[in-house]
């Protein structure tokens, strides 16, 4: 039978081990994704000219006026030169930021002996590794509601320091409403063991401009399978609840159904906003989740 433990509150803050692990993971993340982005040619990172028409400062092209367009768009100086109407288009320049948020609440400090590590450790490694990979790829990365987005090479250390300083974050199990910009992306790493309504609110607060986002659900295998039997009392590290569930084997049936419903709800929330949901179990290697998130971010970019 699986045994469970809670890690200390202190170890829910990233230390050398986590940053080192994150860098190591980022090291092995393939260039593949970034290569593909370069090949697509429609995607650039950071404040670049996007080599296509869009909001920006520099001139891109004149094109003929199409019926139905706003008349204010007409470039009269160019149009005066012949009988046709022209619209001046500028090159699309937009800063793309990726905001990462890592759940460090008490429920994340949970590990069973079926898992490789505790959930919070896995979340930190995953989040910081993603940050490093994005910066490598030219994006600007920040912690949601905590730091500015930056593209510095030492992004992992910067973010880890910010996390260590943020003591309030040890109590929050959902991201703060940060209102990211239209073309920003949000990556939320958490166990999402909060009621769906609160998750929905948080996701809506972080997608007010219709920006994209990715939910990464870090779960301990025990939370998924509930392999216990016999009389048991459950304790919740976060709310301080305890529940006498009687015979655990029988209770597990209902529990698994409930967790499956919860996941379905999460997936529906993500789908409604056009976000994605990645489920990662701590008995699997972190690279799996990292790869999937990178692919999803790349794919989302591809759709413009």
């Amino acid at each position: 039978m699986a045994s469970t433990r809670l890690v200390e509150a202190e170890s829910r803050r990233p230390g050398g081990a986590q940053t080192g692990g994150a860098l190591a993971l980022a090291e092995v993340m393939p260039r593949l994704v970034l290569e593909s982005r370069r090949v697509s040619g429609t995607l650039a990172h950071g404040l670049h000219g996007r080599r296509r028409a869009g909001p920006g400062e520099s001139f891109w092209q004149f094109r003929p006026f199409v019926t139905g367009e706003a008349a204010a768009r007409i470039d009269w100086r160019r149009s005066a030169r012949d009988d046709r109407l022209y619209v001046r288009e500028r090159e699309w320049e937009a800063a793309h930021n990726i905001w990462i948020w890592i759940d460090r609440s008490a429920s994340m400090g949970f590990a069973s002996d079926l898992a490789q590590t505790s959930k919070v450790e896995r979340a930190l490694v995953l989040g910081l590794a993603l940050a490093d990979t994005f910066v490598e790829g030219g994006e600007r990365v920040g912690l949601l509601g905590l730091t500015r987005a930056s593209a510095s090479r030492g992004i992992v250390e910067t973010l880890a320091q910010a996390l260590v300083d943020d003591r309030a974050g040890l109590m929050q199990d959902l991201p703060p409403p940060a209102r990211p910009g239209r073309f920003d992306e949000v990556v939320l790493v958490s166990d999402f063991l909060t009621p769906l309504d609160r998750v929905r609110e948080a996701v809506q607060a972080n997608s007010v401009h219709g920006n994209r986002g990715h939910l990464v659900l870090v779960a301990d295998p025990v939370e998924e399978t509930f392999p216990f039997t016999g009389q048991a009392v459950l304790h919740d590290p976060e709310g301080g609840l305890s529940l006498d569930i009687g015979e655990a084997g029988a209770w597990g049936e209902a529990y698994r159904a409930r967790i499956a419903a919860h996941r379905d709800g999460l997936s529906e929330i993500a789908r409604q906003r056009g976000w994605t949901l990645t489920i990662h179990r701590t008995d699997r290697p972190a690279s799996e989740a990292a790869l999937r998130v990178l692919t999803l971010v790349a794919a989302a970019r591809g759709l413009g």
């Binding site: 459950l234 301080g240 609840l241």
Partner: protein, 948 residues
């Protein structure tokens, strides 16, 4: 035991009661302490109930409940019996002789009797006494005492017999038994009714008993509650009557007698009332003859006894009429045959029989007489051969009714079988060679059987046979024409009657057979016929005048409870003139064939029930059937224990928190929350609106007046953000392209929520299929159905052209679409044919690619091109295809961003995107213009016709 009437079958089992205190200790054992598990998802599932739980300490009241249940079980196992031994039980080890009356009188309260008998036998079983059982209505046979279990077995096989019992017959065997077992105690469960023709059984039994020193106990109802019904199975006439009988005044003074037909359907019911002291009352039914003839049995409602049933046989029923036509029956024109008119007119109230086709007149008449008809109708039969004539004469002499109709053959012949002397030849009235007009009927004379009927004025007799004006002619005339010439005459012959209509039975001589009067006249004539010719008489004559009547085998017999069934093996045939009451060998029921059988009843006419005289039985104990019954308390105790255990289960559930809806949560606040949660959940379920969906911003739903003002393309919002964005962008792109290239300038595309939005404003709805989404509701499907029916077009885009395989399994999208369309009325589909007007509505296109190009596009099948006609470049059906199914992901190809840039790559080159736009423009123009383009091919012809 202790002065109360309670005994135990297994008293030793009571010793187990000592173990109850040990059980007390056992039940108080505390369950093991549960283990603690840290579990973060608890907050999500705090309201999930524990499934199985043993509380730490069993509460005292629950303990008491369980101890009680255990005590009940122990007591039940000990087998307590309340009031052991029946009333008639006598102490001792002597055998018990049980005499059980099982004639039909006992059927009414058979259960009580059976229970009383069972009680007696069980009491004997407890005392270990052998039992002898005599059923008084069975055939007498020697018997001996047997073990009680065997007697019980035999008792279960005894059923009430459908006839009266004959107790006297058993006296001999009872005497023999008592000789051998002198001290046997006798219990007689009596029905309290003295059988017909029975001597004083009670006195004889008393003598036997006192001679052998036996104690006699008589168990009987204080007053025999049985009712019986007595009536004749043969009741001519329209009125049916029967007597309700009882042996003595018993308080059952009113009831219902019901008349049923062959199938057991009630036809009529009649209420009877017995004077408080009277022993019989009459009940009668006055019914139209058709209904009355259908009645097969009378029964007292709710009596369930063979004695309360009177079966009616065929002898009192519909007259059987045999039709014989003297001419050749032209089978090609059956509607012109006289027999047709007669059969039609007679069938409402008589049983019409016609001879087999292809026989001569004599054979036909012979067959009819063999069939025991009561009325023989001869339509235009002339002279008969001597043998047939003799048979017909005998038939009439013995009470048959001969009904004759005139005709050319009768007019030509000289026939003794007529009521009056006839003149040769007929008289024609109103013919082409006559001055007369057809004569109509005079009013019927009061002494005529037709008196009271009203001859209509439009009856015309064109031809008739005239009677010689003899002196007795007026007395024999039943109906006459206005000029006094008889038209119906009748004469008695022996016990029978000969009736002659002086016209034909068809319309050649008069239109009388067409009138309703004809039916009424025939009804009255047939009503005069006596009961059917005596049954068995024909058979008897065929047996060369053998005196003995024919035997009729039992067909359906009553059981003791008055239900018809197949006859038992012991039933034997009865002679056709059987008129006695039923007996053991002849149970009541129907005997003989269905057409001509007789009914035998449990009581013969005139039988009366009399109460049993028990004064001759000296020194007998009397007991009541409804006396104190022996009660085996085992069943009661077992069910009590079961109830207590069920209560215990409920209590266990309650203690386990099932009804509180939550487990025991340690902290106060959390406990309150957990307690409130289920209640709130319940409330929310009651009051919740349908689950909240992603709310479309109002601007995306330009319904109402804006939608009516501009033509818009529309798409179905699937709830999948990426797909919906693609649909919106795609339709925007197509709208821009339409505005740029065609005369149509559509408004902003509209996203439709099928559950809420009105669809009537949109000519074309684009519906991308997303496999994972829930199916639209039934209401939405009906809405789409109405939309398609009223001329709208829906494009279903499965977007799976890349993954679909021609003969592979359906893709998830295709499966989803099939499921959705299963309830829609989808017309027959075909891939877009090359000459479909859809390919020519604006651009000339071959296919309809989108982001993908390999998918097939399906539209409603249009009628095939006419054979041989000139080959037209475009074909169209009557309307616009209501459905277009494609897998090419059209919207993605059309999708443009805010600045006009394409959003999604296409699988082919840029030309494919252009072709996608062209296809899209064609689809839109097609939905808006219908088959207009197909009709354009006629323009040259029209111009030519105009002379241009």
């Amino acid at each position: 035991m202790f002065g109360i009437p309670l005994t135990f079958a297994a008293p030793l089992a009571l010793a187990a009661l000592v173990a109850l205190p040990a059980l007390w200790v056992l039940l108080r054992v505390t369950p093991p302490r549960p283990r603690r598990i840290h579990f973060p998802p608890l907050a999500l599932v705090a309201d999930l109930l524990p499934k199985r739980e043993t509380p730490a300490r069993t509460p005292p009241w629950l303990l008491i409940l369980r101890i009680l249940a255990a005590a009940c079980l122990i007591l039940a196992v000990a087998g307590p019996v309340w009031n052991p031994g029946g009333i008639g039980a006598a102490a001792g080890r002597e055998p018990l002789l049980l005499i059980l009356d099982n004639g039909f009188v006992a059927a009414q309260d058979w259960r009580d009797r059976l229970r009383a008998a069972t009680d007696e036998i069980e009491a004997a079983a407890r005392d270990g006494r052998p039992v002898a059982l005599v059923a008084s209505a069975e055939a007498p046979a020697p018997f001996e005492a047997r073990p009680p279990a065997a007697a019980l077995e035999r008792l279960r096989a005894i059923k009430p017999r459908p006839h009266l019992g004959d107790r006297d017959a058993h006296l001999a065997s009872i005497g023999t038994f008592l000789e051998r077992m002198p001290a046997a105690s006798i219990v007689w469960i009596s029905d309290g009714v003295r059988g017909v023709g029975e001597t004083d059984f009670a006195k004889s039994l008393g003598d036997l008993a006192s001679r052998h020193g036996s104690a006699v106990t008589v168990l009987k109802a204080e007053r025999s509650p049985a009712l019986a019904l007595e009536g004749s199975p043969v009741q001519p006439g329209e009125k049916l009557s029967a007597q309700v009988l009882r042996a003595e005044a018993n308080g059952r003074d009113a009831g219902l007698v019901r008349a049923l037909d062959q199938k057991g359907l009630p036809l009529a019911e009649s209420r009877f009332t017995l004077q408080p002291e009277a022993r019989e009352a009459s009940v009668s039914f006055d019914l139209p003859v058709e209904l009355r003839n259908a009645i097969a049995r009378l029964e007292i409602e709710g009596e369930h006894s063979a004695g309360a049933v009177v079966l009616m046989d065929e002898r009192g029923k519909r007259r059987r009429v045999g039709l014989v036509f003297g001419g050749t029956l032209d089978q090609a024109q059956p509607l012109l045959a006289p027999t047709y008119y007669l059969a039609k007119a007679l069938s409402p109230f008589a049983d019409v029989q016609q001879p087999r086709a292809g026989q001569g007149t004599a054979e036909s008449i012979g067959q009819m007489l063999d069939n025991q008809v009561s009325v023989l109708a001869l339509a235009d039969v002339g002279a008969l051969d001597d043998r047939t004539l003799a048979r017909v004469e005998t038939f009439v002499e013995e009470g048959g009714l001969l009904l004759r109709f005139a005709g050319p053959r009768l007019a030509a012949g000289n026939d003794p079988l007529v009521p009056v002397r006839l003149r040769r030849g007929g008289r024609s009235l109103g013919g082409t060679l006559s001055w007369d007009r057809p004569k109509t009927l005079a009013a019927f004379a009061p002494e005529s059987p037709f008196a009271g009927l009203n001859p209509p004025a439009d009856i015309g007799v064109r031809r008739q046979i005239l009677a010689e004006p003899d002196g007795d002619l007026p007395g024999k005339t039943w109906a006459a024409l206005q000029d006094g010439t008889p038209i119906v005459t009748a004469g008695k012959r022996g016990q029978g009657l000969v009736v002659l209509f002086h016209v034909t039975a068809d319309t050649t001589w008069s239109n009388l057979p067409l009138s309703g009067l004809f039916v009424d006249m025939l009804r009255r004539v047939v009503g005069l016929a006596g009961p059917s010719a005596k049954l068995g008489e024909g058979d008897g004559r065929q047996a060369n005048g053998q005196a003995k009547a024919a035997l009729l085998a039992p067909r359906l017999t009553l059981d003791g409870f008055g239900a018809l069934g197949s006859p038992p093996a012991s039933a034997t045939a009865v002679p056709a003139d059987f008129a006695d009451r039923a007996g053991p060998e002849h149970p009541p029921g129907f005997y003989g064939t269905a057409e001509g059988g007789i009914a035998v009843n449990a009581l013969a006419p005139g039988d009366r029930l009399r109460p049993l005289d028990l004064t001759g039985l000296k020194g007998a104990r009397m007991g009541s059937l409804a006396g104190a019954e022996t009660l085996d308390l085992r069943a009661l105790l077992f069910s009590l224990a079961l109830t207590l255990l069920a209560l215990d289960t409920l209590a266990g559930l309650w203690l386990g928190g099932f009804f509180r809806g939550a487990g025991r949560v340690s902290r106060g606040r959390a406990a309150t929350a957990a307690l409130l949660l289920p209640a709130l959940l319940g409330l929310a379920l009651v009051f919740a609106p349908p689950p909240a969906r992603a709310q479309e911003p109002p601007a995306n739903r330009p319904n109402g007046i804006e939608s009516a003002l501009a033509t818009r393309l529309a798409f179905v919002v699937t709830g999948d953000a990426a797909t919906d964005a693609a649909s919106r962008a795609g339709l925007s792109g197509l709208s821009q392209m339409l505005a740029a290239r065609t005369a149509l300038e559509p408004g902003e595309p509209a996203g439709l929520n099928l559950e809420k939005d009105e669809l009537a404003f949109y000519p074309l709805i684009y519906w991308p299929i997303v496999a994972g989404r829930p199916q639209p509701s039934e209401a939405a499907i009906r809405k789409i159905d109405a939309f398609m029916r009223n001329g709208g077009t829906v494009i279903f885009d499965t977007r799976d052209a890349q993954t679909a395989r021609a003969n592979g399994p359906p893709t998830p999208e295709t499966a989803y679409l099939r499921k959705m369309l299963a309830t829609l009325e989808v017309p027959e589909l075909e891939p877009v044919p090359p000459d479909h007007v859809l390919t020519k509505a604006f651009y000339l296109v071959d296919s309809f690619p989108g982001r993908l190009s390999t998918g097939q596009t399906w539209v409603e099948t249009i009628p095939p091109a006419g054979e041989g006609g000139e080959r037209r470049p475009a074909r169209a059906g009557d309307g616009v295809t209501p459905i277009i199914i494609t897998g090419n992901d059209l919207a993605a190809a059309w999708a443009v961003g805010r600045n006009g840039e394409p959003l999604y790559p296409v699988t082919g080159d840029q030309r494919q995107r252009e072709m996608a736009f062209r296809g899209g423009i064609n689809i839109v123009i097609y939905t808006l213009t219908g088959n207009y383009k197909a009709d354009q091919v006629h323009v040259p012809a029209l111009l030519e016709r105009l002379g241009q």
